[in-house]
Amino acid sequence: MSESAVRVEHLSFRYPGGPDVLTDISFTIAPGEIIGLVGPSGAGKSTLLQHLNGLLPSKLPEFVGQVCIDNIPVARQTIAEVRRRVGFLFQDPDDQLFCPTVFEDVAFGPLNLGLSDDEVRQRVRDSLTSVGLADYEPRSTLRLSLGERKRVCLAGVFACQPSVLALDEPFSSLDPRARRKLIAILKQFSGSQIIATHDLDIVVDLCHQVLLLDGGQLRAAGQTRDILGNVALMERHGLEVPWRLRPK
């Protein structure tokens, strides 16, 4: 069991007063593996990802099962440790940007890790450069387009150098060049990753494995090409076989 970076066991969850949003989900992610999380809108992808970061269980009792990150079970006592290891990207960048300037926002994580001022500046510069916003440091986080805000969020995540990435729709509202750049970065990243997205072409390109979620249940899991290339399966769950895998 020591080789799993993320382990989810029999996870069930519902929002207060609502029906079940997740039902008995179990899977593991090996270190270094990239997992794509696909499924129709409202399937529960964001909800599942938030569990990996301990965003929901601490608040609500409607939570059965266990989530472990690097073999640490997510619980009230371990939540700080877990969140340090998981780099989490919110679907909405405004949920994640909380400092007045881009520099401060990206520097927030490294500063809290207790790095020296120079190291912090270095990390900020590096991660902003890697998302293509090198000269944005002094700008206000209030005056950015959506794609720019998303990339600042990504820079903030990278600057903490987490060991697991949980990204919710990282590619939406990015332009093609930023998207290509991000794919390259993610391919180089050494930790494990779980990426929820509707962009199946990118999943084919990037992910080793795919989890297919629909109606809160895990409908299929396996090699990317096997699952995304399965026309019947895709059709059944409101998805589409991506261009690359279509028989010509």
Partner: protein, 338 residues
């Protein structure tokens, strides 16, 4: 509601500022004990929210519109300590961005809106809630009453400060008082309504958001939800004291202030002043003993109406809002806290 620099004398500003400084420091001290938990972002958000909420106008009549003040709302959601800090920051930022409300009178404004708003509002709510049990209805009624009461208290306090600022012996303030109290009983109604609607909205949509505090909680009957405990003996006493003080301030002081100069003198003064201001023909002077009577009567009627009518209206409002709440809230069974 904002008091500008220059309206009060520097001494009064300094005195009220000192009281506010003490209160806010204590709030910050209490807040510091919860450093690292969600109170900090929540307080920042609440402050931003009150600020933004004040930008939504609720039209009353043609050119007049009211808006939220937010002290009670903040205290209901984040508790009195964080609520006080949030309101203080709102006032500070309003000064720093718009130069609304003066630098020296910042302390006074903080006293009126943050300390009375959050601390006072919280204790009134807790007091009222005791009569309704810890139900959802109790929360709504409590905050509606608290919202109205805090506005009235702030108005009364302002009159006192105004009086202290400008040579108390020579000026008759009962008119100022009448005006302020009747005007603010209306503003207070608006505030009560908006606060009540906002809080029932939250209770409907996200009941778990209201007043979660670090302290151990106990469940609300019928909902399985919890708020933080109503009170120790001390808070209860404090709350009762506050309500009584409020009652005195709102209802008794206009009469007291008229009585202290002697009724005769006040009536006389009013009559003369009436004459001077309106430039009435001297003929009116002959009716000297009669004219002031309706004025005085009007005055006490106005204040009484403001007080009693306002109270009744507030309770009617609270009752209505309580009724509107759905009977069966979503079932939660939470042990609260983080």
């Amino acid at each position: 509601m904002h008091i500008q620099d220059g309206v009060l004398s520097p001494v009064v500003c300094a005195a009220t500022g000192a009281i506010s400084l003490g209160a806010v420091s204590y709030s910050v001290h209490r807040l510091q004990q919860s450093v690292g938990d969600r109170t900090i972002p929540l307080t920042g958000m609440m402050a931003a929210l009150v600020f933004a909420g004040q930008m939504v106008n609720f039209p009353i009549g043609a050119p007049v519109s009211g808006h939220l003040l937010g002290g009670v709302l903040a205290a209901t959601v984040v508790g009195p300590w964080a609520g006080c800090v949030a309101m203080t920051l709102v006032l500070f930022v309003q000064w720093a961005l718009f130069s609304d409300g003066g630098l020296f009178s910042l302390g006074t404004n903080v006293l009126h809106m943050a300390v009375i708003g959050a601390w006072g509002g919280h204790s009134v709510r807790m007091f009222v809630q005791r009569f309704f049990g810890d139900s959802r209805k109790g929360i709504v009624i409590g905050s509606v009453v608290a919202a109205w009461a805090t506005v009235m208290a702030a108005a009364a306090l302002f009159c006192l400060e105004f009086r202290l600022s400008w040579s108390p012996r020579e000026i008759d303030f009962s008119k100022v008082f009448t005006l302020m109290v009747s005007f603010h009983s209306l503003i207070g109604l608006g505030e009560a309504l908006i606060t009540g609607v906002a809080i029932s909205f939250v209770l409907n949509q996200r009941p778990e958001l209201i007043c979660r505090m670090g302290t151990p909680a106990r469940p609300i009957e019928g909902t399985g939800r919890s708020v933080h405990p109503t009170a120790t003996a001390i808070t209860r006493t404090l709350a009762a004291g506050f309500v009584i003080a409020l009652a005195i301030a709102a209802f008794l002081s206009p009469f007291a202030s008229s009585f202290d100069d002697g009724l005769e003198a006040v009536l006389g003064k009013l009559g003369i002043e009436n004459f001077n201001l309106t430039g009435n023909v001297p003929g009116l002077l002959e009716d000297y003993d009669k004219v002031p009577v309706p004025v005085a009567a009007w005055q006490s009627i106005a204040v009484s109406f403001a007080g009693i009518g306002g109270t009744l209206a507030v309770f009617a409002l609270a009752w209505l809002l309580g009724k509107v709440l759905p009977a069966a809230p979503p079932q939660l069974s939470e042990a609260a806290g983080e």
